[in-house]
């Protein structure tokens, strides 16, 4: 490029600082909210975990007795249940949602927005109410059992209170959180790139493996992380549909704070669980560099 650039008059120092000032001012309400609504309580919880068991004061000498309790008892079981249920939910949702997301992004035209509204509308109803609806459906002589008995003369016992029904509930509740990021992810794959791969001899499966999946990875990652983080802290599905057949870590924590009145132990469990989730999430984020996947950063 040639030609004289327009001469920019030197800015006054105040002018240079004003945008920064305005930015800081407009960000401060949110910063304060996060500080007092999120960071401070979180620090309280972490600190409470080091207080002696069954006490209600933050002003005591710190101790590790709560963590000893956690490792000596069987809390690891509920942690494993939570992680396991969350992982299974993520996997099932990936399998269910990818074809639907592909159809919504590439094939359906008007129907796609109808599906979006239909799924978004289901979010207007509280999760617990929806789960109780499932209870009515699956309980003994409920909608499903009753229909089977009347129409096919098949007697079924209650379909509730088992692990598959818990997973079914979780898959149902967290479906939108997987589907919508996936739709965005699949939309990012240009049609001509897919056609080019096909034209260069790739079969449909190879196009999926080598083009669709890697290029829609940002959507896959965001959806999986959202569902994982939400479902690992899930409590209602196991309680309402599972009837305490399985105890998740979230319900352990809840009972420490309520029935057991052991706040320090509940806090220690929370702290450990937050730390564990953070490690899992960062591990996943580290393995899949989003910017590299988006093609903004060169491969090392």
């Amino acid at each position: 490029m040639s030609g004289a650039l327009p001469v920019i008059p030197p800015k006054s120092r105040l002018l240079e600082r004003v945008p920064g000032l305005i930015g800081a001012l407009s960000a401060s309400p949110f910063a304060l909210l996060m500080l007092f609504g999120f960071v401070a309580p979180l620090l309280c919880v972490v600190w409470f975990g080091f207080m002696p068991s069954k006490t209600f004061s933050l002003l005591q000498a710190p101790t590790l007795e709560n963590y000893e309790t956690i490792f000596n008892q069987t809390y690891f079981k509920s942690i494993l249940w939570s992680l396991g249920l969350a992982s299974v939910t993520v996997l099932i949702l990936l399998v269910i949602c990818f074809p639907l997301a592909f159809a919504m992004a590439k094939i359906f035209k008007g129907v796609a927005s109808f599906i979006t509204y239909a799924i978004a509308t289901s979010l207007f109803v509280s999760e617990n109410i929806r789960l109780f609806g499932w209870v009515i459906g699956f309980m003994k002589n409920g909608v499903v059992g009753g229909t089977l008995a009347k129409v096919f003369d098949v007697q079924v016992d209650s379909l509730l209170y088992n692990i598959p029904v818990i997973i079914l509930g979780m898959v149902y509740v967290y479906l939108p959180f997987m589907l919508f990021p996936l739709v965005l992810g699949v939309k990012m794959v240009p049609d001509q790139v897919r056609e080019a791969a096909f034209d260069l001899g790739a079969s449909r499966w190879q196009v999926f493996k080598k083009i669709d999946l890697p290029l829609s990875m940002p959507g896959v990652m965001i959806g999986s992380l959202l569902v994982f983080v939400l479902s690992v802290g899930a409590i209602s599905e196991a309680k309402i549909l599972g009837g305490q057949k399985v105890v998740t870590i979230a319900s352990d924590i809840e009972s420490e704070f309520t029935y057991a009145q052991n706040w320090p132990l509940g806090s220690a469990l929370s702290t450990m669980f937050i730390a564990l989730t953070t490690v899992v999430v960062f591990f996943a984020l580290g393995r899949f560099d989003l910017e590299k996947l988006l093609g903004k950063k060169p491969a090392e």
Binding site: P190, V193, A197, D199, L215, L293, G295, A299
Partner: protein, 358 residues
């Protein structure tokens, strides 16, 4: 077409309809082995639809596509020994230059060392230094480099016919010219059959052995670039070749005719006799027009006023006015310069004009 060469691809009475709209209407042509064939047409002429049928991304409504005599209408693109370079190039953004070029080889299951050797060769052929480009991310390449990667990737597939969907249209004029010549060189050295689609007849003329001109889903003319230039079949083809003068004429018996200039008709002499009352277009190329000095004779002479002159390098282009609103384009060599704003007499020889249907 060179009749001794067997046709590699035969398009026989192919029609494509989308609902009630006919995009391609009963088109037939043959492409010879090793030929550089170009389909030219303005947007909406059906050239892209035709191309998509040739590569297998659309199926013809009626008609047959034959590759070396075998009907390939229903053969999927991944099973056809043909390959296309897309307008958007459609490079794989999550892969390096090397991996892009190796893609068709990897799909075929070639060994790593073999893939790498071939990619290395192809990058060299396309003037991309493999040491610098093999591991480079395609998103960091410039427009011209990306063109070359796309071509290398298509060549790696080793197709019998390579199709191009206006891949050069997004580049600046100079780079486009360079790549046109390179493309022609590569076609010659690889002896592959190239089938190119473009809206620019100029581009088609530079590279092609044969050109087919499409209008509204029908082939208007097909032939060697020189043939088409020398004798365009109708006014559409002539106009498509660039700046030409097409005069609306009504024959008035034998070789006499009237030129409808919008104001007063001007009587002209035609190069060939025409039945009185028929309406035609008279093609006179800008370079066939010359300024006639007093005493000199020409087949036809018209008094004009010079409106404007533009320098085209070695030549000067004049816009001259015959009657208000009726202008002609004249191109002369630089040394025969006339002044703008002046009145002049324009003339042309009868042999330099052609009667065309509109």
């Amino acid at each position: 077409m060179d009749e001794s060469a067997a046709p590699i691809l035969e398009v026989a009475n192919v029609t494509k309809r989308f609902g009630k709209f006919t995009a391609v209407n009963d088109v037939s042509f043959k492409i010879a082995d090793g030929e550089f064939f170009t389909l030219v047409g303005p947007s909406g002429s059906g050239k892209t639809t035709l191309l998509r049928m040739l590569v297998g991304m659309e199926k013809p409504t009626t008609g047959e596509l034959r590759l070396r005599g075998k009907i390939i209408n229903d053969l999927a693109p991944n099973l056809r020994p043909t390959c296309m370079v897309f307008q958007s190039l459609a490079l794989f953004p999550h892969m390096t230059v090397g991996k892009n070029v190796e893609f068709p080889l990897a799909i075929r299951g070639a060994r790593e060392s073999e893939r790498r050797t071939r990619a290395w060769e192809l990058l060299k052929l396309l003037h991309l230094d493999p040491n610098r480009y093999y591991d480079k991310n395609v998103t960091q390449c410039s427009g011209g480099e990306r063109q070359r990667v796309a071509l290398a990737r298509a060549l790696a597939y080793d197709p019998e016919i390579l199709f191009f969907d206006e891949p050069l249209s997004a580049l600046d004029a100079r780079l486009r010219k360079t790549l046109q010549k390179e493309l022609k060189d590569i076609q010659r050295s690889t002896k592959k059959t190239f089938c190119y689609v473009t809206h620019s007849l100029e581009e088609a003329m530079v590279m092609s052995d044969r050109v087919a001109i499409l209008r509204s889903g029908v082939i208007e003319q097909i032939g060697q670039p020189d043939e088409i230039y020398a004798s365009p079949k109708n006014a559409f083809v002539a106009e498509f070749m660039g700046e030409v003068n097409l005069l609306d004429i009504i024959a008035s018996g034998d070789t006499a005719a009237l030129w409808d200039t919008g104001r007063k008709p001007i009587s002209l002499t035609l190069p060939a006799p025409l039945e009185a009352g028929t309406k035609r277009k008279l093609l006179v190329r800008p370079e066939s027009l010359r300024f006639v000095s007093p005493g000199e004779t020409a087949g036809n002479t018209v008094p004009v006023r010079i409106l404007n002159q533009f320098s085209l390098g070695s030549r000067i282009q004049y816009h001259v006015e015959v009657t208000p609103g009726c202008t002609l384009t004249v191109e002369r060599l630089r040394e025969e310069r006339s002044a703008a704003g002046a009145d002049a007499v324009l003339g042309w020889d009868l042999a330099d004009s052609q009667i065309l249907e509109s």
